[in-house]
Symmetry: C2
């Protein structure tokens, strides 16, 4: 399911962080790095040291899943601390550093009603993790690892009592493996990362116009002809399901229909609404090929196929997609038109509702509950169907009022390349929601969606992480946990924890840059890429046309959605201006000089690297921004006002730098603009008291109209 | 097979590079980045541009293996250049940029007598790759990719004619997956890397005291009880064999016996020479447990086991280890002593020879040729057994004179952490060899050996690469290709090519440092680690005791065997001194100031990072070295001679810095020493003419006696 820019605007995703940040309050103690923030946390006094004497004991219930999780935890603890532990899990709790008191196994197949509660009590001699289920214990183990810190004397946990449970029970990540295939080791890494931030649903988007990625033994031409040989065997699918279950994660497979189905039709054109032949789609977009909802053979096919998949995927839910079908093929097929007339189906929506009703019966036959995108919500849809909303919390609330369970994905479209702060404030039940508590129970949670148009095995981790950890917090923690600065502070710690798990989001950036530059000396290139972000929404495809066969190895692929450097620079500039009229410019100038000096070095790299030629205007922009910024800070330090010409020329040049090039855009432009305006306003500012300065600076900080 | 420090000394691996470098001559044009250097290379004039019109055509023979290799090649080319290609392989060569003219499939199972010859002709309108076999074509495709360079106008290949074939036909890499398990995706990455530098044998060291890593369906307790659950299924083994074959690489499995077999005996103690029970060994070293060579049941077991493995691994050879059995269990078993007396076996060597003879019959029954380490070479050993020599070229030559085929591993023990330059000069047939051409044919080649005591999935790539590329060149290229500077220059290019293939040797260093420091700001730590190397030979275990259960996440694990920075600094210092009496010290001083400034920053990182506390003395050493170096360069620039006290105190302090700490050692100490001596010798040097200066500097450059 993809959403258009217009809808995004309507749904408020574009509200700038600078505005919403003012509404946030500091609700969590800043001394811990926990993400998601637990429901209740009470720090005590004292510390529990982590030494080579560290031991784990289980009390009450224990099983293979719990023991495997404990072994993984000890391995991570050992890798992080450098301490060799005795990897034996004892039953005697007297000597144990960590005692796991687990009441029972919980659900054998991970389920939406699983109890994920846990309590963690750390004193100066022991940590005790209590949970009603193994999954609760797994969640608590992640908290245990996040609690570890260090001081002069070594590694430790602070004394603390944590009582925790999730706000929402459906906390998911969709990975689209259809547009670009992702090897299973990449999926496993991401399941590990999901578990680390307590996500519990892997939504596996397996079929698309661009690829059919799951082996079907009943209809082998589906994967054989629809995947370029890049598909998961059934054994691999079982491996992923088991790997996820070990981590308390459900796997919800999606077979998108009746649209988004070109890849099905390559092998089975007889399912289509118009005659074939069909080829695997190589472009991004919405396409016409659609299953024919009027023929019994199609339902017979789907019955067999769904039956096969239902046996492969044990989750109670099966996702049928159902999105973005415009029915163009239906309009052009007289037989389908006749069918609609005969059945009294007044439009394509009605025909799709008819399709969904028949599909629902097939799912029910195979003991699966249906989940689908917004569009499937049509009159007469049974109440046990779950709606996944790309439209937004309002659409979701409407469905809830009608009695439908739903999950939110609007606001969590991580492929749109918005910063974590934006996703962080999207809430499945916003503060202004008018749902009754009973109605609100229908809002099961949400899912981040990693659509795959521009995602390779090399870049996928950096597209998902660390931003998805902020979404995970939104879905787990209390609704008033909304402090953006504190979120970013904790995200930096989680980021390193994610690397421990094998995630490649940080390490692969340099690999991309070294390949682009064909040298190990990429320092200046790192400077450049740290200041830019990929263009937002769906502009990449316009700016830098490509197909599914294009390499994903450009500068834009090395750029991350959330420029840490730009955020830090923005803080520096705000601090500089808030401190007026002192103008302590050293730090800002040091940064600007670094960017200025990078220019000539970058040009010399680009000279020898044709794959970086598209970055030439960016290098010019960077040099110009550094020049303008240094001039502005000179005016501020010297308290000499610049001319109007300087101001206008500088702002005009900055407008140029604000324009995306090579499908990336500088994230520092607003800060640069602020420096220029502050310098230009010096005479008027100088008349003000320090207090008025601050107010004035705040008004300057508002983003200029574009 | 492990070798002791004394033997290493005897075999000449310790000859310092500075001495042997003088013997080398520049024999290859410096304008290309090919590694290994082809047998014959003739540059023409003109260039072949790589554009989006790039097309591949096959002529004559083509098959699935060749087409898969072409698709992989095009993917790499596309990723590197950023250009979208049409991934269609044509039959019509008229429009093709690259034509593959392959005569036939070659051997269906990769074999030691495979013809790997190829010819590559690049003109300004077409490249043409001609080969008698698919494997020859695969080798040529790697050369094609390495030829790609860039200029102002884009990517290109220079016009060239290359005729190439390997000097040796057995060019291997041993990976010990027994001491530490390595997941199959890591093995696949390394197979890709091997293919990139034209290695053709993956020697899979599958069993050890510390682990039995292959599933046996006949004797499941082998892997079930001997592996901690970390083993390869037979399906995975087949997957690796197929993956290797696709790349023209043989897979030779090793089942080490009768020693190195503790892990076998955990499940089957009845095979041992003394009663059990046995446990998986957790330490590094040589251990006593040994198969009992006197009992028929043992041979019956081996017959069944070898039969099972012979079916799994199609290669003609099967490696039986045979090394480092001291027979201590035999000495203590009266029944075995009685057996020896009865059979007239005068010592344990004779008993092992008896074992090998019976084992050989089992291998022959299952149609496998035997290969084993030096020790198996005993009187009466049939001539078709291959000797793998850890003892050295002399032992190998002796075996060759007796008519045995052999491969060299002495000199290629990459686990000893010597720089590439050392391995590079080890030759299976040294220049002073007295073998006749007929005898020399018995020297099949060599193998780099990645023993697994200190190798994790996270670090293995950095332990193997890029150094093994230099060994690959030794085994492929002409014996007179020995220019070390040129090797390092080309190695830098290969290094980036290896990253393209997914190798993690560079990217994981920062991951290790970020985990150690628990922060993203690791610049100063990178400076430190770039200047140190892990201690050589087997000193790590002495300096930093650990077991197979210890984490491999310390500073030593982030350090690489070959400090590029130290090598560059050494060149800078030599240039500085060679240019006397000008003493252009700027570059050297800049480096020294960087190291000086890193000191306080490092201390502040270490303060918060208990896992780095062991690095504290290194930080002190670095600061002191920077201070001494800056003082020395001041004396040189000012042409003021220091006092004798300064000289003595400085050299004494440098002696301290030369001592390993945290199992790493500074690679810059010799250069620092040189600076001090040069400064101290200023008065005598000033008496000399520039020409005499150079001579004097050369004598100063000799490493001081320890």
């Amino acid at each position: 399911m993809k959403i258009g820019p217009l809808l995004l605007l309507l749904c408020g995703l574009l509200v700038p962080a600078t505005l919403t940040a003012q509404q946030t309050t500091l609700t969590v103690p800043s001394q811990h790095n926990l993400m998601p923030v637990p429901a209740s946390i009470q720090f005590g006094t004292g510390r529990l040291s982590i030494t080579s004497a560290f031991q784990v004991a289980t009390k009450s219930y224990s099983d293979a899943r719990l023991r495997a999780a404990l072994n993984r935890m000890m391995k991570r603890l050992s890798d992080r601390t450098g301490i060799t532990f005795t990897p034996v899990i004892k039953n005697d709790e007297s000597q144990a550093t960590l005692v796991i008191d687990c009441a029972g196994p919980g659900r054998t197949i991970p389920a939406v009603d699983e109890d994920e509660t846990y309590q963690l009590d750390v004193s100066d001699h022991q940590a005790r993790l209590t949970a009603p289920t193994v999954v609760g214990a797994l969640r608590g183990l992640e908290t245990f690892l996040q609690l570890i810190s260090a001081d002069h004397d070594g590694f430790l946990l602070p004394a603390v009592t944590i009582r925790d449970q999730p706000r929402f029970r459906w906390r998911g990540l969709l990975i689209d493996v259809a547009r670009h295939y992702q090897p299973i080791e990449g999926l496993k890494r991401n399941l590990d990362a999901m578990a680390a931030v307590k996500l519990n649903v892997f939504h596996w988007h397996l079929t698309e116009n661009q690829g059919f990625r799951i082996e079907s033994r009943k209809f082998p031409k589906l994967h054989q002809m629809g995947s370029d040989g890049l598909y998961y065997t059934q054994e691999q699918a079982r491996e992923i399901v088991a790997y996820a279950a070990e981590r308390g994660i459900r796997v919800v497979p999606e077979f998108d229909m009746p649209g988004h189905s070109t890849a099905w039709l390559v092998g089975y054109p007889e399912l289509a609404s118009l005659p074939g032949p069909y080829e695997i789609e190589r472009h991004a977009g919405i396409f016409d090929p659609t299953l024919d909802p009027t023929r019994d053979e199609v339902y017979k096919f789907l019955d067999t196929f769904i039956g096969e998949m239902a046996a492969l995927f044990p989750d109670a839910y099966l996702h049928i997609g159902g999105d973005e079908n415009e029915g163009k093929q239906w309009d052009r097929n007289p037989q389908i038109q006749a069918f609609m007339k005969e059945k009294g189906l007044k439009d394509n929506h009605a025909l799709q509702a008819y399709f969904n009703q028949r599909l629902l019966k097939i799912l029910q036959k195979h003991k699966k509950k249906m989940i689908g995108w917004d569009e499937i919500l049509q009159p007469d849809l049974p109440r046990d169907v779950v709606i996944q909303s790309w439209r937004g919390p309002t659409a979701l609330a409407e469905a809830a009022r009608k009695g439908y369970d739903g999950i939110l994905s609007n606001g969590y479209y991580i492929d749109l390349m918005y910063p974590a702060s934006q996703h962080y404030l999207a809430d499945p039940i916003p503060a202004n929601s008018t749902l009754t508590p009973e109605e609100a129970k229908h809002i099961l949670g949400g899912e981040a969606t990693m659509w795959g148009e521009y995602v390779s095995p090399e870049t996928i981790d950096s597209r998902i992480w660390p931003r998805t950890a902020a979404i995970a917090e939104r879905l787990w923690s209390r609704p008033d946990v909304t402090d953006i600065d504190d979120m970013y502070r904790r995200l930096a710690a989680v980021n390193i924890e994610l690397e421990e798990l094998g995630l490649t989001h940080e390490r692969n950036r340099q690999v991309l840059l070294r390949r682009l530059a064909q040298t190990k000396d990429i320092g200046p290139l790192e400077t450049l890429v740290s200041l830019v972000e990929p263009v937002k929404e769906y502009r990449r495809g316009q700016q830098r046309p490509s197909t599914m066969l294009s390499p994903l190895t450009g500068l834009v692929d090395a750029a991350h959605a959330d420029s840490d450097t730009a955020r830090q620079f923005s803080n520096m500039v705000e601090a500089l201006l808030s401190d007026a009229p002192h103008f302590r410019t050293e730090e800002v100038q040091r940064a600007l000089r670094g960017w200025r000096d990078a220019g000539p070095q970058l040009n010399s790299i680009l000279e020898r690297a044709p794959a970086l030629h598209e970055a030439r205007p960016l290098v010019d922009d960077l040099s110009e921004m550094a020049r303008i910024g240094l001039e502005a800070t000179s005016y501020l330090t010297d308290t000499v006002a610049p001319t109007t010409q300087w101001r206008d020329a500088s702002l005009a040049r900055l407008e140029q730098t604000a324009k995306p090039k090579a499908a990336v855009e500088f994230a520092i432009v607003p800060s640069m603009r602020l420096l220029v305006i502050a310098a230009a306003e010096l005479p008027s500012l100088q008349q003000l008291s320090p207090a008025d300065w601050k107010l004035r600076v705040k008004s300057l900080a508002k983003p200029p109209a574009k």
